[in-house]
Symmetry: C2
Subunit: 400 residues, 2 copies
């Protein structure tokens, strides 16, 4: 590449395969499926219905006879049901919390039966915008409605019913997963014995909404988004640039300047000794490109829109007579964990959530994880996170 | 607008006039112009030359007989030469530092002769990508080279020569303006008696580069950018969406979650009581739209690319035997000011810069401005900033 004559803009996703882009996840993996719309359509909180909703989930460990050892792990924005497990047939990547879930780990699968369910609106097996609408015979695409975290929880409740789990020993999650876990404990207090919410909040902040909004616009401004109806493009094209750019922005907010500084500083991918050009990249830009391209290969842009909107709409106070009344519904023993360097979900949010739960009568362990990694600390500090979860689960076990 | 049937993506700049978009600034204002390429073309540090370079500047106050009272004010990324003055004929907006510069203000124009020069690569009167290349007879557009802060300073030196100013009493600036001020003191130590750098740094960090890079991509991914050659579009179209989105991102990084939280919280522009849809906006989204659209009306996307790249390339150590050696060149009395809530240019950068200047033998006042506003604190805290500048200028005056 001659930088000087033909500057080339680095494009996340520019080398994607031209077709087959709309098969996400690993159908050959360990996932199981359950239809949660056997007797009725699924009514969305924000209006509209879905005629058929399938939930994809995975499990680890063994459910005991009285179904008292079930732990629900809730994934974050771009996560999926594959929370644990190594790379292998049907799994191109290890589980996103494989350091936390397994024999002898923070959530010990020798003792606990772990369930992880892909969220409604996602693209990894559960019904989302890229799913076929049975009434129309085509993908939902732009016809898919707005989903809320409460919708996500109601769809997961059907999976619990299907598995015969009346009460979760614990519902656990980070970021969007923490929102999901908290809504579980507020919506169904008698079905949640303990709750762990990490790097999350009781209601999304204006800053979180701002970042989500600019990411959604990056997708919508990509002409290949086509108003959401891009699945039928004969060449498999889609809003790869927009989704990649959204991920690049998000990736910056998930980490910290300190880590970027020590890891990349001002090192350059493209040599600059023989002159400067506009699209020469520093190492940190190459890192962002990598993350953008990686997400585009595995995630659907419409699901990104739906789930970031669900996060923006997250507010446990909505329609419940205020935040104090909402949090007073919680009967679960609680772990509220923050990461000290998280600027996207700053520790003050978790402190306020913990205080609100305590004021409502809950027993709360409030933990601040020491990490330079920022928001992603809940994924990148398995020792501290695992220890906090183990402590919570031991308390629940002792209650038996 | 019916949100449910026809979701509309809010588009920064969507209501722009269809033509005349490439006239920036106010030719009828107080600006003056000087040709800095009378005897030779302007050679860029990164390679290439510009055949004709014009600099636009404004002045306030009166230059004294021995030209000893001149203060150069350097503007930030999207600023211009109109640093002071009210709205009036030829000026649609007040000066960007009008609270700081004027009679009896932090930089007292009853005493000081203040100069502000639009940067090389900009779009407010000085030569930039939207200027006519005299050799080709058309706008530079994609042919405009990469500009560095050192190029900016060399072009400004010609203005100083033109005005008969051998030595600046002070060179002052925030953010990119602080980079410019620092380079002045390093490149021409005997022409700078004092230096004030606010919310700035000795070298751009990986985090700053990351944010600049995603903003540049937002512009380049806009099909209307057309590789930079959009000026000749018959309908005046340009990368308005991309530039607006870049500005929205930037605006978030310039402020703080605390201020967004207290100002917007979760209030909504679009009512959500009768159902939810994807493009309903919270107040913070309306605020971002406002800032995106406002910038698109007054700024050129190619200048945005050139100047953010100049900021990314800012590193006073480059080619000077390391940072310590570079900072040891400074002979000026220094003010280094940080804003305590600035997450984009965190106070540690200014602390390190101050320490480096002190180690190199400079006399340095290091000030931390207390503000909730974040990076933009250097614009939004005129009392504290003005007081610090007054103190610096009094020290310089006492040296006379």
């Amino acid at each position: 590449m001659n930088h000087h004559d033909h500057p080339e803009v680095p494009l996340a996703g520019h080398d994607l395969p031209a077709s087959g882009a709309w098969v996400f996840g690993d159908p050959a993996g360990n996932r199981q499926f359950v239809d949660v719309t056997v007797n009725r359509p699924f009514t969305l909180e924000g209006g509209g219905t879905l005629g058929a909703v399938t939930m994809a989930y995975e499990t680890w460990g063994t459910l005991d006879a009285d179904a008292s050892n079930a732990v629900l792990v809730c994934h974050a924005l771009t996560g999926d049901s594959h929370a644990a497990g190594k790379v292998g047939p049907g799994h191109r990547t290890p589980g996103w919390w494989d350091d936390i879930i397994g024999p002898g780990r923070g959530i010990d699968t020798d003792h606990w039966f772990v369930v992880c369910i892909n969220v409604l609106g996602g693209c990894q097996g559960s019904t989302g915008p890229s799913s076929i609408d049975p009434e129309a015979g085509t993908r939902y695409a732009s016809r898919f409605g707005v989903v809320t975290v409460r919708d996500v929880v109601r769809a997961q409740r059907s999976v619990a019913d299907h598995l015969g789990i009346d009460v979760w020993a614990s519902v656990v999650g980070g970021s969007m997963g923490g929102m999901t876990a908290l809504e579980w404990a507020v919506m169904f207090p008698d079905r949640v014995r303990s709750l762990a919410t990490l790097s999350s909040c009781a209601a999304s902040s204006a800053l979180q909404i701002a970042w989500s909004a600019v990411q959604r616009r990056a997708i919508a401004f990509d002409p290949a988004w086509a108003g959401g109806d891009y699945y039928d493009a004969s060449d498999g094209a889609g809003p790869h640039r927009g989704l990649g750019l959204a991920r690049e922005m998000a990736q910056i907010t998930y980490r910290t300047g300190d880590v970027f500084g020590s890891r990349f500083d001002r090192a350059a991918v493209d040599p600059m000794d023989n002159g400067l050009s506009m699209w020469q990249r520093f190492d940190v830009e190459g890192y962002l490109d990598h993350h953008g391209t990686k997400l585009v290969r595995r995630f659907d842009a419409n699901s990104y829109l739906v789930l970031t909107k669900a996060m923006d709409l997250h507010d446990v106070a909505r329609g419940r007579g205020g935040m104090a009344a909402a949090l007073a519904r919680v009967q679960a023993r609680c772990l509220v964990a923050a990461v000290d360097s998280d600027t996207l979900y700053p520790p003050i949010q978790q402190r306020q959530l913990a205080d609100g739960l305590i004021a409502g009568g809950a027993r709360v362990d409030h933990v601040v994880i020491n990490s330079s990694h920022g928001h992603d600390g809940f994924l990148l500090e398995p020792e501290q996170v695992g220890a906090a979860l183990t402590a919570l689960l031991e308390e629940v076990g002792n209650d038996d």
